[in-house]
C-alpha cells in the first residue's frame, strides 16, 4: 500500500487530468456532459454563446470552444472523455483531432498509427 500520493511528473505531450485540471475545467466539462442529450446539442448549435454562458464558461473556455481546437480546450481544463461529445457533434472524429493536435494531416496521422503496428 502506498502512503503518499503519486508525485506529479511531466509526461511529454500529455496533460494528466487531476484535481487541478478538474477544478479548472469544471464548467466546460459540465457543458460537454450535457451534450449526451440531443436537445442540448441542438441548443448549443443554435446559440453557442448563450449556451456557453448558461454553463458559466470562462472567457478563455468560450474562446477555446470557438476555436474548435482540441489542444486549447484541453488546456482550458477540458477532459477528453467529455470533450469527445462536443467534438463529435461538431463533426470531428478522434482522428481529425489527433491530426489537429499533432500538427499532421489526417492522412499522415493515420499513417503514423499504422506505423505503430509494424
Amino acid at each position: 500500500m502506498m502512503t503518499e500520493p503519486q508525485t506529479p511528473r511531466a509526461i511529454s505531450g500529455t496533460i494528466v487530468f487531476d484535481g487541478a485540471e478538474a477544478m479548472k475545467g469544471y464548467a466546460l466539462n459540465k457543458m460537454c456532459y450535457s451534450f449526451n442529450d440531443a436537445a442540448n446539442r441542438a441548443a448549443f448549435l443554435a446559440d453557442e454563446n448563450g449556451y456557453c454562458n448558461r454553463f458559466n464558461l470562462s472567457s478563455g473556455q468560450i474562446e477555446a470552444v470557438k476555436s474548435r481546437n482540441a489542444l486549447s480546450m484541453i488546456r482550458a481544463g477540458g477532459n477528453i472523455y467529455y470533450l469527445a461529445k462536443l467534438i463529435g457533434m461538431l463533426g470531428l472524429n478522434v482522428q481529425d483531432i489527433g491530426a489537429q493536435q499533432t500538427g499532421l494531416s489526417v492522412d499522415d496521422f493515420k499513417a503514423k498509427l499504422l506505423q505503430a503496428g509494424l
Binding site: I15, L71, T102
Partner: protein, 278 residues
C-alpha cells in the same frame, strides 16, 4: 457453488461500434480485429456462461465530476444504454443480476472496498460494445457491471484493481448458486486521444503487459498509474479493467485465444480469452 468459467479482455473502441452498425466487419480495415471474434464466440459457447461480470470505465454517460466514484457496482434489474452524443446507435436494454450484484457488493464492503452502488445505471459503449461483439444477436444472460474510474486522477492503483477483481472472484466462488460466470475486462490497450502525444501507441509495452497479465499478474502492481499513462497513453489506463478481470480468475490460467491488432481508430486493440487452469 458458482464458478468462473473464463475471462475475456477486449477493446471497446467506439469506431468498432460504428463499423458494426454499418456492417463493415469484413472490410480490410476492420477485418483484422473482427476476425478474432469467431473463435472467442465459439469458446464462450463451449464454456456455457449463464452470467457476466464486466469491468468497464464510464466515458461520461452515467457519471460526472459531481459524483465520480472510484469503483461503482450496478445492482439493477436491467441496464439501459443511451445516447452518448457522438452518434452510436442506442442498444437494447441489458438484463441485470441483482442477486449476484448484492452478493458481490456485500462481500466487497465487508472487505473494505468503499463502493458506490447503483440501482439504476446507464451503461455506455464500454459496456455495450463487448457484449454486442460477443453476442451479436443480443445477450440474454444477466450481467453485473463494475465501473472503474479512468476519467479523473487519482485513479485506483493496479494493486487496488487487482484486489478488487480478486475479491469479486472470491464472492463468486462463495455464491451458493450454480452460476457459470464469464468475467469481461473492457478497454485499451495502449492509446492516447488527447494532447500533442495523441496517437501514441506502444506495442512493446502492450506485448509485455499481456504476457505478464496471463502468467504473473501480481507483478503488474509495480507500475503506478502514471507509469501506465507514460507507457500506454492517457487512455491506456483502461488496462485497469484487464487487471481486475484477470485477478477475478484467481490462480493460473490458460490463454485460449489472443488477437492483437494496431490500429483500430487511434488504438491498439485486442481480444484475449483466458480459462482458469483446473
Amino acid at each position: 457453488m458458482a464458478t468462473i468459467v473464463g475471462g475475456i479482455g477486449v477493446s471497446h473502441v467506439p469506431a468498432l461500434g460504428l463499423a458494426m452498425a454499418k456492417n463493415m466487419q469484413a472490410d480490410p480495415y476492420w477485418e483484422p480485429f473482427f476476425k478474432g471474434l469467431a473463435p472467442a464466440r465459439a469458446w464462450i459457447d463451449s464454456v456455457r456462461p449463464d452470467a457476466v461480470v464486466i469491468f468497464y470505465n464510464d466515458h461520461g454517460l452515467n457519471f460526472f465530476l459531481d459524483k465520480m466514484p472510484t469503483f461503482a457496482v450496478g445492482a439493477a434489474p436491467a441496464y439501459l444504454n443511451a445516447d452518448e452524443g457522438w452518434g452510436l446507435p442506442v442498444s437494447a436494454p441489458f438484463p441485470g443480476d441483482p442477486a449476484l450484484s448484492w452478493r458481490i457488493i456485500n462481500h466487497l464492503i465487508a472487505n473494505e472496498f468503499d463502493l458506490t452502488t447503483c440501482q439504476e445505471m446507464l451503461v455506455d459503449h464500454a459496456f455495450a460494445l463487448p457484449l454486442k461483439m460477443l453476442w451479436p444477436d443480443g445477450v440474454t444472460i444477466p450481467i453485473v457491471p463494475v465501473a472503474i474510474n479512468t476519467v479523473q486522477h487519482p485513479l485506483p492503483s493496479i494493486h487496488r484493481c487487482f484486489n478488487l477483481g480478486r475479491t469479486i472472484g472470491e464472492a463468486i466462488a462463495a455464491d451458493p448458486s450454480d452460476r457459470r460466470v464469464l468475467v469481461i475486462g473492457s478497454g485499451g490497450l495502449s492509446h492516447q486521444l488527447d494532447g500533442e502525444r495523441a496517437g501514441f501507441i506502444n506495442k512493446a509495452f502492450d506485448t509485455a503487459f499481456l504476457e505478464e497479465l496471463v502468467t504473473q499478474p501480481e507483478r503488474l502492481s509495480r507500475y503506478s498509474v502514471l507509469d501506465v499513462v507514460e507507457q500506454a497513453g492517457t487512455q491506456g489506463v483502461e488496462l485497469l479493467m484487464w487487471v481486475a478481470m484477470r485477478a477475478a480468475l484467481g490462480g493460473p490460467v490458460r490463454q485460449v485465444y489472443q488477437n492483437y491488432h494496431i490500429p483500430i481508430s487511434n488504438t491498439a486493440a485486442c481480444l484475449l480469452a483466458l480459462e482458469p487452469s483446473r
